[in-house]
Point group: C2
């Protein structure tokens, strides 16, 4: 069996998506980031707070099996700049924990955040897919606000 995807490629894939999400946060006007919503859904900032609750704590959990409690509280104080700082801090933390994740962890069954039982690769893909899902919703918010979102394939700096 050859390697379909390496561990480094997996990290790059994740961080590439996170870079695009960062651009989407930047594209929102500050007011709408914290106030605009459709159909009773959360604001994009609230969705981002969920993503922040998962990303770095998730990487830590994969690396150490120490799972923090999911804490989706928005700590930005309605500041876009602060939300982006929190995002960048998560980026660094993921990069820090990543080398500590053992190769066999991806096929191991684990209990993410003490409650979600699945194999490591499924858990990681769930983190990424959940981000893509909510970011896609952010795109609709931007379109409804008549703002052009970044291209979906732009995952580089």
């Amino acid at each position: 069996m050859l390697t379909l995807i390496t561990k480094d490629q997996f990290l790059n894939h994740w961080q590439g998506h996170r870079l695009l999400t960062r651009k989407v946060i930047e594209t929102f006007p500050e007011k709408e980031l914290f106030e605009f919503s459709i159909g009773g859904m959360r604001t994009f900032a609230q969705m981002v707070s969920e993503l922040l609750a998962i990303a770095a704590p998730g990487a830590k959990g994969l690396a150490t099996d120490i799972w923090e409690e999911l804490d989706e509280k928005d700590r930005s104080g309605n500041s876009k700049e602060r939300l982006l700082e929190l995002w960048d801090k998560s980026t660094d933390e993921i990069n820090l924990y990543w080398p500590q994740i053992s190769d066999n962890r991806f096929q191991e069954e684990l209990l993410a955040f003490g409650q979600y039982k699945d194999k490591g690769f499924c858990t990681l893909l769930y983190f990424i897919d959940n981000e893509i899902h909510h970011r896609g919703q952010g795109y609709v918010y931007l379109r409804a606000l008549n703002i052009e979102p970044p291209a979906f394939w732009e995952r580089q700096l």
Copy 2:
């Protein structure tokens, strides 16, 4: 290097997401599936037609390196039932082509649809991520229509 994800697991991941998208198609009232949109975006049926243009032709391309031209024309004739039939036909075609994809194809550079240069695993992840992205947009449409979408983690029959 251990295997982070096997080829079978990759297929199951993809088809699991496709099953959830199928549920989202089913959840739309037929009229709104073909008519409703927000912010000048496409209808969900039009997005689904893009996904259909990519999925089975994409699996065929990965397996054979024969790439059809991207054809996103909606062939359902505004029938939800027909759209679901096209979806199920794609599901079968993907399952048919999958065993013909060689293991080393995932790390090979290829020109998907004759125009998108990337490694095989990136191309495949792009297919999946693009579907998650648009399905997330379908969720907003459903919420705006005051309809409860299926749970994001429901990827089983």
